[in-house]
Amino acid sequence: MDFTLTEEQRLLKDSVDRLMTERYAFDQRKNYLKEPGGWSAALWSQYAELGLLGLPFAEQYGGFGGGAVEIMLVMEAFGRGLILEPFVASVVLGGTAVRLGGSEQQKSRILPTVADGSTKLAFAHGERQARYDVTDVMTTARKDGSGWVLDGAKSVVTHGDCADALVVSARTSGERDDPNGITLFLVDAGASSVARRGYAVRDEQRAAEVSLSGVRVDGDAVLGEIGNGLPLIERVMEAGIAATAAECVGCMGALYDMTLEYSRTREQFGRTIGSNQVVQHRLADMLMSLEQGRSMAMLAAMMVDEPDAAERAHNIAMAKVGVGQAGRFVSQNAVQLHGGIGMTEELAVGHYFRRCMVIERLFGDTAHYLAKLAVAVE
C-alpha cells in the first residue's frame, strides 16, 4: 500500500495545477464560455502540447502511457479549474472505447489524432427513453453489404456538438433491454445523415441530441465485437466515473477552500461568520465528506484497470455512490454557508455546485448505483 506519487506524477500534477491557476481563473473562464463552441480552443491546444490529450494512450499511438492515477491527478486539477473543454468526452470516454475496443488499425488511425487534439470524440450511448438503463438501446444497425446502416437517436451526448467522430451504440440484434446484441460503431459526426442539436447543460458544458437517419458506415467502423458491445460500454462508463469522481474531488476542494475563506472574512452581526461554532462544525463535516470522497475517487482510479469485471464494477459503484453523496453534501453546504451571494451567477460557488450536481447524474445517479449494490449484497 502506497499513497506517494512518483516524480513524474508530481511533475504532471504541478504543471496542470499551474496551468489552471494561470489560465483558468473564474474570469478567464467567463471568456471561454463566450467562444463559439462554449470552450477555449487555445486551452485545447495547450492540453495537446502538454500531452494531456494523449495521456492514457500508449506511446506508439502518440500517447504517454499514463494510467488511472495520472488521469485522476489531471481530473482533480480540471475540477478545480472547472474546465469547459471536451477532455472527458474525447480522451476518457471516446479514448477508452478506442483504446480497449479498437483494432490495431483503428487505434493507429484514431488515437494519434485524439492525442494531438485534431480529432474530438464523443460517446453517444444514452437514449431518451433509457434514463440510466445501460441496456436500453433502441438505435438499430442493420447489415447492408459489407457495411451497416444506423437509425435512431442519442440523447444528452456530452460535447456531441463539437465532436468529429461519435462512438455510437446500436442494436445489431435483440430487443430493447437485451444485454446482448449491442455493437459500438465509429461514426463520422459530420455525415449528412447525422443531425445534431447542441445546447448547454446546467453546468455550462455542452451536449447534443444526435439523430441518425440511415447513416451508412463501412464494416471497419465496428468497434470491438459485434453484438457484444456491453462489456466495452461498461469499461467506458467506468473510466468516465473514475475520471469525473476525481473531477468532483477537485470541485469539492475548491468549494471547501472558498467557503472556508468566506467564513474567515465575511462579517455579520459584528463578527466573522466563521466564529459561529455551527459554521465551524459544518466546515468540519464538509472536510470529512471531502476526504471520504477523495478516498472513494482513489478507489475508482485503482479499480478502473482491475481485470475481474465483477470486482471492478462493484468497487466503482461504491465509489460512484460515495463521491456522489460527498459532492452533494459539500456543494449544498457551500451554497448555504455563502448565503444569498452563493445563489448568484456572479460567484464561482454556484457553478461548482452545478457541476457536482451534473457529475452525480453522469452514467447513472446515486440511487441507481446504490440499487445495484443492494441487489449485489451477499
Partner: protein
C-alpha cells in the same frame, strides 16, 4: 381536540378548490404544472381574478377589503392555491405592505395605496437588505437626508426580488446616522420606482432566472408624505412587518405539488428495466417524504389554529419549526422531482432549443424545469433568515440559552 376539518372548513376548502379549478386560466396552470415560475403577467392576471372574488387581500381586515378569514381558512386557501398549482399572491403587496399601512399608515396613504395593492395595479418590492448585511438588517446604511418636504435618498439595496417589475418600493433608510443604537434612526419610506436616480441592476440566480436585483439610489427625492409612521421609528414598522403572522411559511402545498408531480412523472420513466414508480427505493423515499409532510401539516395546523385562539402578538416559536422543516421539505421534494428526470433534467434545453429550430421541443419541459426549481429553491433555506438563524431564534425564544 379534533384534527379534522369542521364541516364549515371542509365546505370552505371545497369552495376554494372549485373556484380555482373553474377560474385559473388553463395556460397559467399548464405552465406552472410543468414547473415554470409564474410570469409577471400570470401573477397579475390571477391576483386580479382573486381580487374580484374578494380573495386577494387575505390577511387584511374586512374593513380594508380583506375576506375576513380565520387563520385556518387562510391556510386552506394558500395550500389549495399552491397545489393547483396557481401563482402565489404578491407577498410584498398582501402580507407585507398591506398590514403595515393598515397599522401605521395615514388615512391618505391607506386610501391611495391599499386598493391598488390588492388589485396588483401597483407591483411592490421590498428595499431592506444591503450589501454585506445579509440577515443583519439593522446594519443598513442607505441614507435619507431631509430637504424641505422631501427626503433625498442615497445608497444601495440588494436581493431586491422583482424590483425590475416593481412600480413601488417600501424602503428602509437611515434618517439619523448618529442614533445611539443601530435600530434607532431608521425610517420607512414608500418610493415610486420611476423617480429619477433609481437604477435597477439584475442579479442572475444559479437557476439562470432573473428574480433578484441590486437597486441603486442616487439623490432620489421622496416626498415626506410617503414616510410611514414617525421619522426614525422605522425599525418598529420593520419589526412589525417581519414578525407578522406567518401562515403559509411552510409552503406545504408547493411540496405536495412537487411530490404529486414526481409520482406522476415517475410512471413515464424507467429504473432497472421497469417504471421508476415501481422501484422499491424510490417508493421508500416518497413514503418518507409523505410522513414528513404529514407531520409538518399537523404542526402547521397546531400553529395556525393557535393564531385563531389567542393573539398575544408574540410569534409562536413553532413558526421557526415551520420555516426550517418547510424549507427542508421544499428542497427535498424539488430534488426528488429533478431526480425523476435523471439525465433529462440536466440540459437547459427547453428555451434554447425552441429558439434554435422549428422542430418540436426535444426535452421534457417538466424535467428541465424541475432542475430550475431545485436550483432556485436552494435559496429557501437562506432567505427570510437562514435556517441557521431560525435555530438561533429558537434557541433564544424557547431554550433561553
Amino acid at each position: 381536540m379534533d384534527l379534522r376539518f369542521t364541516p364549515d372548513e371542509a365546505a370552505f376548502r371545497d369552495e376554494v378548490r372549485a373556484f380555482i379549478r373553474d377560474n385559473l386560466p388553463a395556460d397559467i396552470r399548464e405552465r406552472m404544472r410543468l414547473g415554470y415560475g409564474p410570469r409577471k403577467e400570470d401573477t397579475v392576471r390571477w391576483q386580479r381574478i382573486l381580487n374580484k372574488r374578494g380573495w386577494a387581500a387575505i390577511s387584511w381586515p374586512e374593513e380594508h377589503g380583506g375576506p375576513g378569514w380565520t387563520a385556518i381558512q387562510k391556510m386552506i386557501f394558500l395550500e389549495e392555491n399552491q397545489v393547483a398549482p396557481a401563482p402565489e399572491l404578491s407577498s410584498f403587496n398582501i402580507t407585507m405592505l398591506g398590514p403595515v399601512l393598515i397599522q401605521f399608515g395615514t388615512d391618505e396613504q391607506k386610501k391611495r395605496f391599499l386598493p391598488r395593492a390588492a388589485n396588483l395595479d401597483d407591483w411592490w418590492c421590498q428595499g431592506f437588505s444591503e450589501p454585506g448585511a445579509g440577515s443583519d438588517l439593522a446594519s443598513l446604511k442607505t441614507a435619507a437626508k431631509r430637504d424641505g418636504d422631501h427626503y433625498v435618498v442615497n445608497g444601495q439595496k440588494i436581493w431586491t426580488s422583482t424590483a425590475h417589475h416593481a412600480d413601488w418600493c417600501f424602503l428602509l433608510v437611515r434618517t439619523n446616522p448618529n442614533a445611539a443604537k443601530r435600530q434607532e434612526g431608521i425610517s420607512f419610506l414608500l418610493v415610486d420606482m420611476k423617480t429619477p436616480g433609481i437604477t435597477v441592476r439584475p442579479i442572475i440566480s444559479i437557476d439562470g432566472s432573473h428574480h433578484l436585483n441590486e437597486v441603486f439610489f442616487d439623490d432620489v427625492r421622496v416626498p415626506v408624505e410617503n414616510r410611514v409612521y414617525e421619522e426614525n421609528k422605522g425599525w418598529d414598522v420593520a419589526k412589525f412587518l417581519l414578525g407578522n403572522e406567518r401562515t403559509g411559511i411552510a409552503r406545504l402545498g408547493k411540496s405536495k405539488e412537487r411530490v404529486r408531480s414526481a409520482k406522476e412523472m415517475a410512471r413515464s420513466v424507467r429504473e432497472g428495466g421497469k417504471p421508476l414508480i415501481e422501484d422499491a427505493a424510490f417508493r421508500q423515499r416518497i413514503a418518507q417524504l409523505e410522513v414528513d409532510m404529514k407531520a409538518l401539516e399537523i404542526t402547521q395546523y397546531r400553529v395556525v389554529s393557535a393564531y385563531d385562539k389567542q393573539r398575544d402578538g408574540r410569534p409562536d416559536p413553532l413558526s421557526s419549526v415551520l420555516k426550517v422543516k418547510g424549507t427542508e421539505l421544499l428542497q427535498s421534494t424539488t430534488e426528488l422531482a429533478m431526480d425523476v428526470g435523471g439525465p433529462m433534467s440536466m440540459p437547459i434545453w427547453a428555451e434554447e432549443l425552441a429558439a434554435l429550430s422549428n422542430e418540436p421541443d426535444v426535452g421534457p419541459e417538466w424535467a428541465t424545469q424541475a432542475t430550475g426549481s431545485y436550483l432556485f429553491l436552494r435559496a429557501a433555506s437562506i432567505y427570510g433568515g437562514t435556517n441557521e438563524i431560525q435555530k438561533n431564534i429558537l434557541t433564544k425564544a424557547v431554550l433561553r440559552l
